[in-house]
Subunit: 294 residues, 2 copies
């Protein structure tokens, strides 16, 4: 009897327990981080904005000259199978395409057969929902778009990981990285928003076009707030009235401290609260979510 | 009966055929490319400059806050075991440390147990030895040191892979990337040297400190050649008398065409030939190589 309670994966056309989910050590997805992925979450048994995640996933693959033999409908079905096998009602569901292995002795990516993987594991929070996040602005630069296009969701995270170590050393919980001009970009798996005088601001370029970020942009407009897409300087972020991070791993996450500066007295602010509550309400709407047939 | 002819790997304290060598899909080495590695080659049954590769490997781990429970002597023994199991006299031998898996639900790298892997596969050439390389200077920028330190050998290769696709489109075989000022940096797994009026030039910063590069620097000095460590512009490279790439995957590889410019009439040049022959001669010297006890 196999145990799927910690999660389930789709590998080599089969559903297996997450503990058995392994990839070849020679796959360029590992040896060259030559891979793209996307993560959709399941809340109360429903996928949230699955079509948006799938669209971005197929778009990322196309930009990397990769393809999988599955239609969107088949992909939806594979992801559902992982969730169903796990039995999870709240899940973090990842789809991955790697370059695969080249022909023996070759270094030509065109000889590779792309590989597809998927898995569902229990929902992950960047930070526990009861706490606001203590964010550190790192001096490390996010890998620039001139090297790797951040719109293609990718695993090049060593800059983020080293930023996280820096955050711990400085007493924070996580870090955002900057660009070569010193503007704030993004953190490991999240976009950032700052609020001043009821106007929202978020970095425009050189960041992942997050689906939660997109949802916030829509909700802000619906709620009558102005959003500026532009450069966000560290000192500007530190003097925010409110700030929050957006991620599939937790939704809208209030930031209550940036470097040594406490934001909004260390508690979640009113606009953040409004957006947060609106965000979670969308999860029951059929327009944004798709029920899993367990 | 297990077959090791295509290579052998060390995984979970065991030697297994390379076809069975797999890592967990949840290892941050895959999901975040949070890993470091090194590659040493075996030629005629001897490791070449193994101590240099091991030193760099331990140094890379330290910079990433990683550690393995093996001394240098134990590491040497593990790598030998992989080669012995494979029976290969000419091999490409890789040692890898990954961050590992965090505690369930955590995103804190400090909760991870680092994982170690190694494998030996048949020797790989960047290009077949009879041919000179046709190199393309890409407009793509190598991931800068401000994001990820290139001295730490890492798997962040999407910039290289996209450069390779560009090279194929433009009729070349591989590509070097540039920095934000347009200086040539490095290619996928290789450093570059240009020669003009018997003076060698190689990029000084923002590149991997390759062991083959180091060997060339030593041989050039021994042979009385001057080497400039400095900025190498694309137009300067294209007007070289000679040029070559250096890599553990092939040693000193002549470059006979850069973009549309043929170098040295399309044949290997005299200084490149001298260095090339000296390089291969070192492989039998006990100072530089260590015999494997098959």
């Amino acid at each position: 009897m196999k145990h799927y309670t910690n999660g389930a994966a789709f590998i080599d056309q089969e559903i297996v327990p997450i503990s058995e989910a392994k990839i070849s050590i020679l796959d360029w997805g590992f040896l060259h981080s030559d891979a793209t992925y996307d993560v959709v979450h399941v809340w109360r048994g429903r996928f949230f904005r699955l079509n948006d995640h799938m669209e971005r996933f197929y778009s990322s693959m196309e930009k990397l000259n990769m393809a999988i033999p599955y239609t969107r409908k088949e992909l939806h079905s594979i992801l559902s199978s992982c969730v169903k096998a796990s039995g999870l009602r709240e899940a973090y569901v990842e789809m991955i395409t790697t370059r695969g292995l080249p022909e023996p002795g070759s270094r030509d990516p065109r000889t590779c057969t792309n590989q597809f993987f998927a898995f569902a594991i229990p929902f992950i929070w960047i930070t526990k929902p009861q706490n606001g996040l203590h964010l550190i602005v790192s001096e490390r630069q996010r890998i620039p778009a001139e090297s790797v296009d951040p719109v293609i969701k990718n695993y090049h995270w060593l800059d983020f990981v080293m930023g996280q170590f820096e955050a711990f050393e400085r007493g924070g919980e996580t870090a955002v990285l900057i660009d070569s001009q010193g503007n704030i970009k993004e953190g490991p798996g999240f976009n950032i928003f700052s609020i001043k005088d009821s106007v929202l601001k978020t970095p425009a370029k050189g960041v992942l076009q997050g689906i939660t970020r997109k949802t916030v942009l829509e909700l802000a407009t619906e709620n009558g707030f102005t959003v500026i897409h532009g450069n966000l300087k560290p000192e500007e972020a530190r003097s925010s009235d409110e700030a929050f991070a957006t991620s599939t791993a937790g939704g809208i996450i209030p930031i209550t401290k940036i470097d040594d500066q406490i934001i909004n007295g260390g508690i979640i602010g009113p606009i953040t609260k409004t957006l947060h509550d609106s965000y979670w309400k969308l999860h029951d709407e059929p327009k944004y979510s798709a029920a899993i047939n367990y």
